[in-house]
Each structure stands twice: as C-alpha cells, then as structure tokens.
Amino acid sequence: MKTATIAVTGGTRDGRRRLLLLFALLLAFGTTLSTAGFAQDDGPDVGFRGTFVNPGDEPMPIEGIRVEVTDADGAVVGESVSDAEGVWVVEVPGQGEYTATVDQATFPDGVTLRDPDTNSRTLPINPGQVRPILFPLGDGPIPGTVNTGTDVRLILQLMVEGIKLGLLIAMMAIGLSLVFGTTQLVNFAHGELITLGAILAYIFNVTIGMPLLVGAILAILATAAAGALMDLGIFRPLRKRGIGLISQLVITIGLSLFMRYLMLYFFKGDPRSYADYAIQRGNSYGPIVLASKDIWSIALSILVLGGIGLMLQRSRIGRAMRAVSDNRDLAESSGINVQRVILIVWAVGSGLAALGGVLWGVGESISWIMGFRLLLPIFAGMILGGIGTAYGALVGSLVVGIFIQMSTLFIPSELKNAAAMLVLVLILVVRPQGILGRSERVG
C-alpha cells in the first residue's frame, strides 16, 4: 500500500516536470516560428486583393491592370496596378463598404472581362480583413450564373468533388479516430495539426523557397514530431497522473485555442496559396472538369489510405494499434507496450493531418482557421463511420464529403457545412454507434 502511494506521487512529480518542460517547448515553438523570417509581412491589414490571370492553355498572370477602390460616398480611397505576378492590393482606411472597379482601358490586347457588365463590385470590409475579389477574364462560365438545376453533368461533377473532399476528410479523420480508439480522448486540437502542416509547408515552400513536394514532406515530418511531442509532453504525463478524460478534453480545447491564435499571430488573417500549383486550368474528362492537382490529390489520398489500411492489417505496429483499440488492458498484459503504441498513433495521425492540410492548401487556400473549420466535417465523418474505428472513419468521411458537395445543389455553398452538421445530428439520432461501430462503445 505504502509503496503504491510513493510510486504514484513519484509519477506525479515526474509528470509535472514534463508538463512544464512542454510549456517551455511550446513557447520555443512560437519563437522559432517568428525567427524563421516569417514574421515580417507585406500585406495590408485591411483592404482588397486579387489576381489577374489570363486563362489560356498556359495560365499567364497579367501585369499592368489598374483597379480603383472608392468608398460609399464615391471618394477614391486607393488604387493599385497588378504586378508581374498579376497581384493587386488596395488598402482601405477601415471597416465599411467599398466599391472596386477594374479599369478596362488598361487591359492588354485580346483580354476581356468574362462578364463585361461587372467591371465593379461593391463589398463590405470587416476589421482586419483583406478581402479577395475575383474579376474573371476570358471565356468561360460566369461565376454565380452556373445552372443550379438538377443537371446530370453538375451532379457528376459534384460527386467527383465530393469524393475528393471525402478522401481528404478521411485522411485527416483517421488520426483523430486512432487517437480516440487507443486513448478514448477526443482531441479538439487535431484541427490545429492540420493547419500547422499546411503552414509549415507554406514556410518551406514560399518563405524558404523549396519545391512544394520537398516542403510538404518536411512539413509532414515536423507535424508528426509535433504530435508525438504533444503526447510525450502533455498527455502521457496527464495519463500518468491519473487526470480524468474530461479534464484532458478541456486541455485539448485550451491547446487548440493556444495553437490556433499563435498561428494567427505569425501567419496573419488572410488566406494564402503555395508558390507551386496555385493556378491550374481544369481539363475535361468526359462531362467532368478537373484540374490535374485535383486528380493528384485523389490519387495520393487513395494511395495513402490504402497504405494505412495495409499497415493496420499486416504490420506488427498496426496489429498492436488495433489490439490497443480493442482492449487496452488485454493488449498491455499480452506484452504490447501501450504507451509506445499511443505515441506512434499520435505521430502517424498528426502526419496524416498535415498531409491533408497541405492537399487542402493546394486545392483551396491556407489560413489560420482552416483546421478549425475542417473539424466539423471530420467529426461528422468519424461519428458516421463509427467513432474509434479507422475503416469507419474512411467510409463515414466519404459519405460526408459527397453529402456536403451534393448539398450545394439545394443550399448556398457558404452554408454547406451546416449540411454536415445535419448529417451529424441525424446519425446520432438514428445510429449513434455509426456504420461500422459497435454499440457497446456508446452509452
């Protein structure tokens, strides 16, 4: 009895020291980010920005197009001419409604507005917001006038985009699901691992200037290390000290807030793109239009997910992971080093999150809030498939991805995440254990 008490207090002190060590490390992480030369920023704090691109077979940025911004009273507050990369930025004095007008007289020969009637757009600006505006050039569909009827082509297109989204969600969800399976902990900071991966790849790619492929691999490794560090520095000591799951849950919330705003601090609020693969023209495949980066994204997701499946099924560590998820005590007593398995699960899951983040950044854009936004569809996919099961996360995420894209047939696309919420609530009512889950996990 006495020995047990001593052992427990010993563990506590050790855990405490490790926790403090981690907080020091977290601060160091912040300072490293800032010294990466990443802290200086050139964008305005409030305003509009945009890019002029000539959509030929080879997308070419257009230099020298003038954009003028006026305020609500019609007074000119600023103007800008697109630079060699086709980028223009206009700073505005503060929050309010502004009109941006593109000067068609400055267009080079052969370049026209896609919709000649919309050479100006009026949009509100919120504090701290740099709002992107698109003035589409050349021929093609005019945004906002896309046929939203139940057109077969559109349905097929949305289906493929849904599969792409679903595969991405699956990749990000598997880490969350594996961590839950092995530790019963819902990690609310998982979204921030996604953002971290995307932002690190941005630093390697844009700030340092590596090719995105190399940068992405480094970012994935670094994020996997960060995930492992989280387990080693925070959650393993907490488990050792016997801190309850609910307290750990609140700590993941604090960690998520901490990381998210630290990334806002260094990365600023406006969304950005990688230097590579940012602008790509869609190719037609039968009735579907896809950029080649979309196809790469789908192929890579399938490959990685297949690899993870193979690892779980065949490899020693994969079997150990499934054993720990199934029954932790049994796994421990049969000689599996449970703490080591959990550590690897954190690292692998974080790496997958980072890969998902990079692919999301290539397809959409990189911003400090992207991971938090993605958390809802990830949760929906994970619960739909059966919480804690890796294969369930895959199936559920695919369904959620397709459902989210398809929902844009009926609701405005800015509300498509509300559709994910609806799926989540419906599943919980009808089948809370999910498609592949077992009912004894719940309740």
Binding site: P124, I234, I251, L255, Y265, P412, M421, P432
Partner: protein, 331 residues
Amino acid sequence: MNWEVIFRNAIIAGFSREAAVYAIAAVGLNVHFGYTGLLNFGQVGFMAISAYGVGISITQYGAPVWLAFIIGLLAAVLLALLLGVPTLRLRSDYLAIVTIAASEIIRLTFRSVALTEWSGGSNGINGFADGYYRFSPFDPSQRYGFGPVEVFGNQAWIIVVGWSLAILVTVLVWLLMRSPWGRVLKSIREDEDAARALGKNAYFYKMQSLILGGMIGGLAGIVLSVGQQTVQPDAYSPPVTFFIWTALILGGVGRIWSPIFGAIAFWMILSLTNNVLDGLVNVGIVPSAVTAGVRGGSIRFVLVGLGLMLLMAFRPQGVFGDRNEMMLADR
C-alpha cells in the same frame, strides 16, 4: 507606465458589461458542467441564438421588448432540445462535439449572404435596443460612477441590469441546487449509473439541466447584444465559449459564486496583461511589431488557451474551488 490608469482600467474591465455577460453565461455553464457534468463547448451558440431571436423578432416582426426577450429565451430552449435529444443518451464527448460544431454553424448561418435580409449578414442587426433603453433611469448624456471610475448613462444602465441579472440567476441556481432536483443533478455528475439505479431518469434530468443552463446562456447573449446595441455575428465566435470556460474554472467549477468571481478575475487579468503589454510597447521595452495589427488581438487568445491548459492540469478546482467538487469521473 501609468499604473494608476492601468489599475483603473482593470477595475472598469472587471465590472464591465462584458464581465457581467460572462458571469451570467458562466452561471449557465456551471449548471451544465459544474453541477451535471455536461460538456457544453458551445455556450456561445445559446448566446447567439437568443440575441438573434430578440433582434429578429423586434426588427422583422415589430415585437415589443418583453415578448422579444421571451422569444429569445425560447430559441435557446429549442437549441438545447435539438442538441440534447440526440446526444444526452450517449457518452459525454458527443455533446461536446455537437455543441462546438453547432455554435460555429449558428454563427456562419446568421452571417451568411443568403439570410442577409433576415439577420443582416456580417453587419448584424442594429437599432433594436431603443425599447430597452427607454426604461433607463439614467440620463444617457450624463456620466455616472464612483471615484475615478465613470461611465455614461446607457452604459451604467446595462451594467446595473447585467450585474443584477447575474446575481439573480446565481441565487436562482443556488436555490435550485439545494432542492432535491439539484441533488439529483449532482448525483448524475458523480455517478450516472448509481442515479439510474435509484430510479432517476438521468436523460430527463440532463435535458432539463441543458435547457436551464442554455437559457441562462441565452440571457447572457441578450444582455451582450442590448449592451452593444447590435447583434454582430462575430461577437459570438467559438473562442467566447472558451473564455467563459476559463472564467468558470478560474473561479472554481461547481461552486455557487465562482462564475461571478471568475468573470471579474478573468476580465481584470485580461485587462492588466493587455495594458501592461501596451505600456511596455509605449515605453519601448517591447518592440511595437509585437502587438501590431491582428497580433495585439490574438495575444489574449494565446494567453487564455495557455491559461486554460495550465489551470486544468495543475489547479482544476480553480482559485476558490474545492477539489472534491471537481472529481470528475471518467465518463
């Protein structure tokens, strides 16, 4: 650095309408988490839906103020039912997932372009609070206060009403938690199976707790929107929930006065750190780039996140709390 100004600002922040709003919302969260063990990570969703309920019913349907307030609180009840019915039978983390997601969805929905006509998009709803300020005994052009701390009439009115409401709901919760009903809630927090074995319908009690705490949260949202004289969607963003959590844990979870102490302490600490940081920048000890632009705003979130982690890891019972009230079982 002018310490007198810094401390005066801290006192103003500690008793500001924001602190009152946080205190009320934290009382609701205390009912959820402190007394029933429910993990509500979307308290701000209840605040938003009630604030919009009031704003929309006044500006769109011309409802009188008292009716609008009732509609606002009923909206919170509806949200509690919507979130509670699917999740309260399940493990406690399901409620956490659904509430955190719902609070962000509510904000995005209200600020969406599609609903601009109704909810005012990203600008929100303005000009609905006049009916409330008509009851103000204070002259809006006059300054009120004691000592060096002074505020204008309308501000004084909302502060008085806000803190009175905070005390009122605190007393209400105190009375409820002394009742047999409150003891059932606490027993569910301690051991749900044991409560069930004694014939209590845990699901219904948890539902009632979710509704009660949600309505108190909704009340906080209404006070915030009336105080700001606008319902602005981004005033109801998810981090607000975690600020309230931090305030509650700071005060001590499951203690009757802790939401009020916690909210005051939280806002004073926040104001002190911000003002000291600004002072250091002005004196030149800290370079101004550290707090420039979006950075100044994000520092407080980073600090709150760090504070929440450290509190939960090292002192989960908070500053005034009792460790025995925080022995959360692994559910």
